[in-house]
Amino acid sequence: MATTFQSTMESLRSSKVWKSIFRRGPANTNRTRSLAVFGNLFLHFLPVKVREKSLHVRASYYLGSISLFLFIVLFVTGILLMFYYHPAAPNAYRDMKDLQFVVSNGVFLRNLHRLAAHLMVFMVFCHMFHVFYRGGYKPPHEFNWAIGVVLLLLTLFLSYTGYLLPWDQLAFWAVTVGTNIISAMPVIGKQIRFLVLGGNIVGENALLRFYVLHVLILPLFAFLFIGIHFWRVQKDGGLTVKSRGGDGQE
């Protein structure tokens, strides 16, 4: 069995199609391994070399990883929910109710999206507290700490914009109150509130604006900053923050 698999892979590797995609031999030396990384769009922006210990998985590693995992869950379930949701005033609430009571497995997906969102906010905070108390904001990690703060804000904005979309009483008043907090800003506050809501009250325009922010603009920035965040983790020498025990393990 194993030999059949190996010979199949062998003939696959020597095929014209494989060679046209990978354009290199087996990655069995440092040079060819580097070439494998450079020749791959998804790998080439990763650091060429990382310390082995920066790849060690520790318990604390999971707080950030869980946040990423929840983001992926939210991304997938969010796309699925978009197939049934109209961001317009009479439809939005009914679509949400349809997802709960009519659409097959709709209530599962909606709740998965909702609960994962709550959990992601919680996990991002846990991750941030952990990094803070471990001194993870100190050099050489200070830039990545700042990126992390941006990611925290993006998480909160995603959570907040998503909160309006069910278009129920809770959503309406939460956004009324939240956007009134914006208007407390001196001089430009009222104007910013007007732009965010597309009007003076939480109405159709506000729903559509929050929807576009929630499903497109904020996730786009989240992807970008998550990319930078992960890249910098490797670049800055991994997650290792010297513990007081001095064994380099967190």
């Binding site: 008043w173 009324t176 109150v177 009134n180 325009n205």
Partner: protein
């Protein structure tokens, strides 16, 4: 030209023109960046305009509140669509905003307790909008109220007036 002939000068090759005169490359650079800057500012301005809606599908801030006889003496009437209380007291009529000055929730008139209460964060007001209890920072504003030619109440929410000003009918 003497500079160009002197290879020890660090910028020897760029010093073709007499001192003080703008060089072609610098001129084109400034022109390009200037044009891009103006285009950028213009784009920001038109994008801002684009995001500010010109037509709003919201209730009109100026509205007729019907005949004054609709409102009995010593009454506080909540107009849901307009989010305004029409208050009629012996001294006259006034229109009090129903939107809490704290964070914009719509308040409710509690006739049994004789006060206006906000369900969101518990602010309390008297019928004339005076603050009884926070967290609201200010009393509820009074809107301009007048009579139309055919004798109906007219409220203008764009205009706030002093609470001492009442409409005598």
């Amino acid at each position: 030209m003497s500079d160009a002939a002197n290879p020890s000068h660090p910028n020897a090759l760029q010093h073709h023109s007499p001192a003080g005169e703008l060089k072609r490359r610098d001129f084109l650079n400034e022109l390009t960046w200037g044009a891009l800057g103006i285009a950028g500012l213009g784009s920001a301005a038109v994008t801002y305009q684009f995001f500010s809606p010109n037509v709003l599908f919201e209730p009109s801030p100026t509205f007729r509140a019907g005949n004054p006889d609709l409102y009995p003496l010593h009454s506080v009437t909540f107009l849901q669509d307009q989010q305004v209380y029409i208050v009629r007291m012996p001294e006259g009529f006034y229109a009090v905003s129903a939107v809490c000055t704290h964070l914009g929730c719509v308040t409710q008139w509690k006739s049994d307790a004789d006060m206006i209460a906000c369900p969101c964060h518990g602010s309390k007001f008297k019928a004339d909008g005076t603050k009884i209890e926070g967290p609201a920072p200010r009393p509820l504003p009074h809107f301009a109220i007048s009579l139309t030619a055919d004798g109906e109440l007219l409220v203008d929410k764009l205009q706030t007036i002093k609470s001492a000003q009442v409409l005598k009918v």
